[in-house]
Amino acid sequence: MLRLDSLSKRYQTGDLALSNVTLEVPDSQVMALIGPSGAGKSTLIRCINRLVEPTEGTITLNGQELTSLNSSKLRLARRHMGMIFQEYALVERLSVMENVLSGRLGFVGFWRSYFRKFPQSDVDEAFRLLERVGLDHMVDKRADELSGGQRQRVGICRALIQDPNILLIDEPTASLDPKTSRQIMRLICELCKERKLSAIINIHDVMLAQMFAQRIVGLQMGEIVYDGPPNEITPDVLTKIYGEEDWEATIETVDEDDDENVDEPEQVKDEHHPGIDRDRMSGLT
């Protein structure tokens, strides 16, 4: 379980990005974090693994307080938090395999990682994950030769190979087309379900958030203004989060199950890998 307790962040420039945020994310919950640009969504996510140092407040993950850790303890704690980035943040000049295996860096010594001598179990797991996301035929490609959707899958593998307790996901679909966005979101949510992972997903697309998340938190000017289930998002709520606008068309009204069924075939004829047997794969992971 992740707990943020009156968390605040003021950047050196004076911007108050988060003010007094208290939030609890129970195990295996997928939570979407929505809010206008500059609301502090990225800041919140980055405070959790302390890529950004919080100014005030505490963060506890499974009983361990993260905010007070020294740098070597922080390093150990980071191994249990997977992060997925908007622009994928793959190391462009490394191969797909190296990128995936870099998720294990916290668990292997420097020289082993330097000579790419990862334990066989890590390599097995990397192959399994790549197969699961349908990229097993691209193992040796360089990351900068992949399309956006493929890169994001590699990013997902890199986060998952850490075997994390929680996924921190910053706008996973913002650079992807609508269909790939859905596929990626579905993949993330399925993997979270399989592995009983909790996740915080920053997302601008309210409809996607409603479609896939179990809970939605709305952030505005660094403060939580909405916290509830996806189906309670109303135009009023969106106005509170984003400001005045005609919100009717944005809100997901279709019954969720229907939608799942409509989209199912899309997932299967997956870019370069037609007809992967998803049930068999999910058994493996």
Binding site: R78, E87, R93, L94, L105, G106, F110, S113
Partner: protein, 271 residues
Amino acid sequence: MAVSQLNGVKVWQRRDRAKQLKIWFGYFIAVTIFMVCWKYMSDRTIWIFVWDAPTQAIDIATRMVPPKWGYINSLWGVIWDTINIATLGTVIAIFLAVPTAFCAARNTTPSVRFVRPIALFIIVSSRSINSLIWALILVAILGPGVVAGIIAIGLRSIGFCAKLLYEAIEEIEPTQVEAITATGAGRLQVLAYGIVPQILPAFAGISVFRWDINIRESTILGYVGAGGIGLHLSASIDNLVWTQVSIILMVIIVTVIVSEWVSAKVRHSII
């Protein structure tokens, strides 16, 4: 960026009047200085020699042919020395430039306040002293020979390599580094996985580029006794053996062309 009101119309000019006047005044000063210097130099030039120059040049050129082809056999050794000076000097420079560059780059330096200025100072001092001057000093310290040349080239190249490399380090994409950091990787691992792959092409390019420059620079070092082909050149000129000079110049040109070709090839294949 000057907007003024003229009869109720907003007029925009690139500069306002005072600034424009200042710029004209600047031009005026520059032209004046140029003319004064011109006069000073022309007063002190012995024009008879200058008018004589074409005749002298033609004279030397005719004395250079036919080149003394047989002389080339006594040059192989010094060509080899020259190439070695350039190569070993570059290798030394790279070894020292890499840590310097990491200390000088704003995003990797251990301390912006203390370490960075020292690294920058090393870079500036290495760059501001020509390799010929380094060689003069080193020949005085170490005595004449190839070693002085190697170290001179090395010292001169540290700054060049480190400066280009630290600029490359400062331009890396920080999100890739963040992503590696976020996995819980150690400092060295972040370096090896997040930073090194990003600067590797720049690093290789800088190294061969500097090697190529160093081939050219090391041809002259012999002039001050630091080994290489320059020693033969200076001896031949001093003894007025112009037929040897022409051979040496040809050899230098060919060596430089080959080195440029090699470095272009290498750079092309890496990037």
